[in-house]
Subunit: 423 residues, 2 copies
């Protein structure tokens, strides 16, 4: 099935906003085994919109149009859709009532220009939008089925999942049940994970398992799409595959599905009623900033200390008398972590010390990371050297620190070589 | 002049990466008064690439193609460009020598597959790439001039500015000299700034001044594009306009052009040989993380302290004996800032305390921010209330804290009402 995406709006066309809706749509379809063939971006202009709709209607089987469903005069999608399909616009009374109810529940009166959002090409199929006033709809233009979606990302995502993907799967004759399983890892590069998971798709004799990746440094997302004729079959196919992924990627899996590294760490501490102190240097508060604002963090996170100056760190954790030799070492990290734990009365402490190379920022600029995790029972530490410039080292050090804490809390080895370190 | 953009690559088409190159190109052209009319996104596929080139070549006057100039077999831009233009590919000896030199200077031998990057359609005009091995080029396809650019953002940006914009301006017959002046502000919404700057474009009798905005919460960027027949005329037109912007936006301008708020703060401290301590609660290390990793920060930033727990903050700044009443107030912020200054031996301290509303995250969830700046001479404080959900409040509080410090260091009033606060 040939699928196209048309993104509309002057703000997108002029680059005022980065078009993340395109990748959102495209990724969501990929997750369900549907592939986008062509993308078009046009502004809020009648002539170009009409041309874009007509050209896509000649090329594609299905077209997803994003944007232009709002109440203002530059929102043109319904009008041009009707024109391209040779239909009249008609007031959809049901949607009008829905909108009036939407405003009533927020103790507001619907402004008159919102009425425009209930004007749909006659005969168009309504695509529900439970979280906004923009009414999605579907109709045929040329040889293609067109699906019109709102520009607000939250509304788009929901309509895609609940209204559009099922219709596309049905149009394409694809098997009905599908599930996307996601694993998040840190420390293994994409090609390494790809090699580790070789043959995974063949574990299920009948097929229907597809492997994909999305790298967003420092983390890698491994995606397993499983298709079957019903949910039961999907679960049966998924079970051995996900066990195998867990076995092969092992300690490197930091979270699954919608979970995050910081969420996993926070939860592991919370369930044991543990508390945490964090000491950072060049990571600059990046570790703290991923944890501290999360709901529930106020009960777990005791204190974060940030400084590039070891003398300041020493003073902040009550080590004024101690000499840390002024240099970053595992011993220094251990001393700092243990002292931070005591100074803040936290049960656990993480200290991440970074010695950045001298000189201007460049692609091979590196840093030496010494980190330690202190608990009531012991102090463990790890050293790593990373290259890749200031930002790369900073992000890598923050991730390594959080991930080593995750490993410690889960009883896994804190020291395990990762692909991003150099010796 | 009708300009189109074609973005190529499976990673972009499948949404694996968000296509920020499109907005980068489009914005850059807008900055020079050039408007993009149509965008196309296609994958690494010969047939669709050829169709995309041919269709754009029939519609447009100029087309910028991004991506597909790399050394691997899925990089197809030169091949398909030659086919669409009816030309042969020829080895460009000059570019080959450039690449060999590129590798030699990095003490590496050029891999054989890089040779492909020097194969250009015969007669194509070379567009220089001083920072990479992908050779840009220009040629005619259909009725349009095509400009082929690399997918690496850093290489793209440089080629756009130095090679492509001048050629487009010349093609479009636009006046030769152009300058983009940028002002960054915090605290005034886009429509407010738009109103404050009403009539600005008319200050210059002959015209050639264009006003634009780019909002990225919490900051707003105000862009002034000035055109003239030469640089002297541009400077003459710009002078009264930029003075007027500075007058009308006044204290709200936090930086100009490539400068940033954190950079301005760091520099203001560094020139006075001042040093800084920062105490944060719900902003979670976000303020520290914007300052601490910057070059030069190691000499200025003494210590950052992060905790959601006022008792921990008290202990961290040596106020164990003092009762802060357990609540967020300007008095508490002042006490904490002054104590942090002393505890860290910093000349200045910023304390940003946030009391977040109770309950689940929602669009009207708010926070009360009390912040203080302490210096050797005095302590000043400011209170603000913001709504908009957890993330909105967190970002707003961090920005307000840094901006109040900027105001203090520049001798401006720290308390001045902003559009984002509610009473």
């Amino acid at each position: 099935m040939l699928i196209e995406i048309i993104c509309t709006g002057d703000e997108v066309l002029t680059g005022k906003i980065v078009n993340s809706n395109f990748s959102c749509i495209s990724q969501k379809l990929e997750d369900f085994g549907l592939t986008v063939r062509w993308g078009t971006t046009v502004g809020d202009d009648r002539e170009t919109l009409l041309n874009a709709f007509r050209e896509a209607g000649e090329r594609a089987d299905a077209v997803i149009v994003n944007g232009g469903l709002g109440p203002t005069i530059d929102d043109l999608s319904q009008e041009i859709a009707a024109k391209a399909a040779g239909l009249e616009l008609r007031l959809n009374e049901d949607w009008l009532a829905r909108m009036e109810e939407f405003f009533r529940r927020r103790a507001r009166v619907m402004p008159p220009n919102n009425r425009k959002q209930a004007m749909l090409p006659e005969g168009a199929e309504v695509l529900d939008n439970p979280v906004g006033t923009a009414c999605g709809f579907a109709l045929d233009i040329g040889r293609a089925r067109f699906f019109f979606t709102p520009g607000v990302p939250r509304e788009l995502r929901r309509m895609l999942e609940e209204e559009i993907v099922p219709r596309l799967l049905s149009l394409s004759g694809t098997q009905a049940a599908i599930h996307l399983k996601r694993f998040h890892s840190y420390g293994l590069g994409e090609s390494h994970v790809d090699a580790l998971l070789a043959g995974l798709e063949d574990l299920v004799p009948g097929g229907g398992v597809k492997l994909g990746f999305r790298a967003h440094y420092p983390q890698l997302e491994t995606k397993i799409t499983v298709r079957g004729c019903d949910l039961h079959e999907v679960q049966q196919k998924l079970a051995p595959v996900q066990e195998e992924v867990r076995k092969r990627l092992g300690n490197f899996i930091l979270a699954e599905d919608d979970n995050t590294l910081e969420g996993v760490v926070l939860k592991a501490l919370a369930v044991e009623r543990s508390t945490l102190a964090v000491v950072e240097t060049f990571t600059a508060g990046h570790i703290a900033s991923r944890l501290v604002h999360l709901p529930g963090a106020e009960a777990v996170f005791k204190r974060g200390i940030v400084s590039r100056d070891l003398a300041q760190i020493r003073s902040a954790v009550g080590l004024d008398g101690r000499n840390l030799n002024g240099e970053v070492s595992c011993e220094a990290a251990e001393t700092v972590a243990e002292a931070a734990r005591k100074a803040t009365a936290a049960s656990h402490a993480l200290a991440v010390l970074v010695e950045l190379d001298e000189g201007a920022d460049r692609i091979d600029l590196g840093g030496t990371i010494c980190l330690a995790v202190a608990s009531p029972d012991e102090v463990v530490s790890r050293r790593a050297r990373m290259l890749g410039g200031r930002d790369w080292v900073r992000l890598g050090a923050a991730e390594l620190g959080l991930d080593c804490l995750r490993r410690y809390l889960q009883g896994l080895p804190v020291v395990e070589r990762i692909d991003f370190e150099r010796t």
